[in-house]
């Protein structure tokens, strides 16, 4: 139950049930669907760039509290960052969930997204937490030479 209370905390619940990042943007630079076929979770990520800075992001779609909150908090974390900074944060988040990165000082750059640390103790939910992060990773990899 301890892990659960850590996961389903105020921050995550607020982001999952009433996210201000869940909306549609106008004139986006990139839009990508992330899908988890095992559970049917599906999100669409939209990104607006200003040079190499992520100026705005939003998401739509449906999924569990963990995937929805993870998406919303990711947007808060990455907004205003450069693509290079974003790449590093994404790798750190994935590393944290997979328990490859445990050093607290390295995890600091995740800001609020550190709230998902305990998902690494819930193997059944790892995919939920990573859905949005893998989706943005895909966008960056696919469009590497356009930045």
């Amino acid at each position: 139950m301890e892990d659960l209370d850590n996961i389903y905390n105020e921050l995550i619940m607020e982001h999952s049930m009433n996210s201000y990042n869940k909306k549609k943007l106008n004139n986006v630079d990139f839009s990508e669907i992330g899908h988890n076929p095992n559970c049917g979770d599906e999100i669409t990520l939209e990104i607006k760039l200003n040079g190499n800075i992520i100026e705005d992001m939003a998401f739509s779609g449906h999924g569990c509290a963990i995937s929805q909150a993870s998406t919303s908090i990711m947007i808060d974390t990455l907004k205003g960052k450069t693509i290079e900074e974003a790449k590093e944060i994404i790798q750190t988040f994935i590393g944290m969930i997979k328990r490859e990165i445990t050093d607290e000082s390295k995890l600091e750059k995740l800001e609020d997204a550190i709230a998902f640390k305990n998902v690494s103790n819930m193997p059944a939910r790892v995919k939920c937490a990573l859905l949005a992060w893998h989706t943005i990773e895909d966008i960056i990899n696919k469009n590497e030479n356009t930045f």
């Binding site: 389903y8 009433n18 049917g40 819930m122």
Partner: protein, 404 residues
């Protein structure tokens, strides 16, 4: 009678196991039978001239006879061992469907089919240019006579239908469907995966042309399944997998095939699975389907009643309890099934969440996924109480965030 005592995992772990529609737990006699087989009888059946291999052959072939009697097939060679219901259905789709369907023919499914009784038919229909059509359910999650008669047209050549829905628990009127399909000149494939654990199946009484099931959903080990087919159909079909033990003569360029049942059993078979399946049938017969149904009916009645009291829950369930078996799908309004399942897990309640390999049904119902509690005769009212308590806990965790 304390049935749970026969199931070591239910003794060893303090869980309410409510996912038997995915796979059942195994009684100790099944576990022991497999151990016994490896300790005393293991050799490759049909291959050796020595007495141990002959003993293994005997065990394997006696099992076929046992299963033939269990589902009352006319001939024992109408029983083909496969990996699971999925392989059985693929065998039928490829060896019967692919060979017999022509452009303009129709294959009729129900919207509640598991992907295993749907995706193979899509493939076959695309290749043969036949049409895939669906019988839809009404607002009570059931197939009506009108729908059955509307969809099984004169063009229908194959009707493939689940006996019991793995999502809704609806018991389909398969006898009626088989009768009607035969009148229209179609053959019928019955997926009995969700029914045979709970009720007596008599393939001759049903007059099913093909019937499939998985062992692991009826107390047997994983990796063993059964295909029943009418002899005259199986005889006309080509083999599905090619290899050892399914041949008669093999030349450099040509091969003639073994007669039934070996024609459909290429390669060394899962003998431990077959032995385990026999032991599972022994266990079921020993308790008896009458008793199993009595226990399950009481349990389901209680579960339906308790879950109906929770006003925050939406149930996907027929109101005709005589048409309902085994599984109850539901959602807590506003909470995703995966979150519910995680919270229940922390309370030692095991349920399934997701689309249950039935995406077209989910889409038809206008939902993405459900929670599913499924029951077997080893479950108790205490398991239901644990479920209800855990659901209350999940709801109270989310309550203040929902609908704002």
């Amino acid at each position: 009678m304390d049935i749970k005592k026969d199931f070591p995992i239910l003794e060893n772990r303090n869980i309410a196991y409510l996912d038997s529609a995915a796979t059942t737990q195994k009684p100790v006699n099944v576990i022991r039978a497999i151990e016994e087989y490896y300790k005393n009888y293991n050799a490759n059946p049909h291959r050796g001239a020595y007495s141990l291999s002959i003993k293994a052959t005997e065990k394997y072939e006696n099992a076929r006879e046992k299963i033939s009697k269990f589902i009352n097939s006319k001939h024992k060679e109408e029983i083909i061992f496969t990996k699971n219901a999925t392989e059985s259905l693929n065998l039928i789709a490829y060896s019967y469907g692919m060979e017999n369907l022509k452009q303009g023919d129709e294959v009729v499914l129900s919207i509640m089919e598991h992907h295993s009784n749907l995706v193979p038919w899509q493939k076959v229909c695309k290749v043969t240019e036949s049409k895939l059509t669906y019988m839809y359910i009404n607002e009570n999650f059931e197939l009506t006579d009108e729908e059955i008669e509307r969809k099984i047209t004169d063009k229908a050549k194959i009707v493939a239908i689940t006996h019991i829905s793995n999502v809704l628990g609806t018991i389909n009127p398969i006898k009626k469907i088989i009768n009607y399909a035969h009148k229209k000149g179609a053959i019928v494939v019955v997926d009995a995966s969700q029914s045979i654990p709970h009720m007596k199946i008599d393939v001759q009484d049903l007059n099913a042309d093909f019937l499939v099931f998985s062992g692991h959903k009826m107390l047997a080990p994983l990796g063993i399944g059964v295909l029943y087919g009418k002899k005259e159909l199986l005889n006309k079909m080509n083999p599905f997998l090619m290899g050892g033990d399914m041949i008669e003569y093999v030349y450099e360029q040509n091969t003639t095939f073994a007669p039934l049942p070996n024609k459909f059993e290429a390669g060394t078979q899962n003998v431990e699975g077959v032995i385990g399946l026999v032991s599972a049938i022994d266990y079921i017969e020993n308790i008896g389907y009458d008793k199993i149904q009595k226990i399950e009916n009481e349990l389901l009645e209680y579960a339906r009643e308790q879950l109906s009291k929770l006003d925050y829950i939406e149930l996907y369930l027929t109101s005709n309890k005589e048409n309902h078996s085994g599984v109850i799908s539901f959602n807590i309004k506003g909470i995703h099934p995966h979150d519910v399942a995680s919270i229940l897990d922390a309370e030692d309640v095991c349920i399934r969440s997701g689309n249950h390999c039935a995406q077209p049904l989910m889409r038809y119902l206008g939902i993405d996924s459900t929670c599913r509690a499924s029951f077997y005769f080893y479950n108790t009212k205490e398991d239901v109480d644990k479920l209800v308590n855990a659901l209350n806990k999940a709801y109270s965790m989310f309550k203040r965030y929902i609908s704002r």
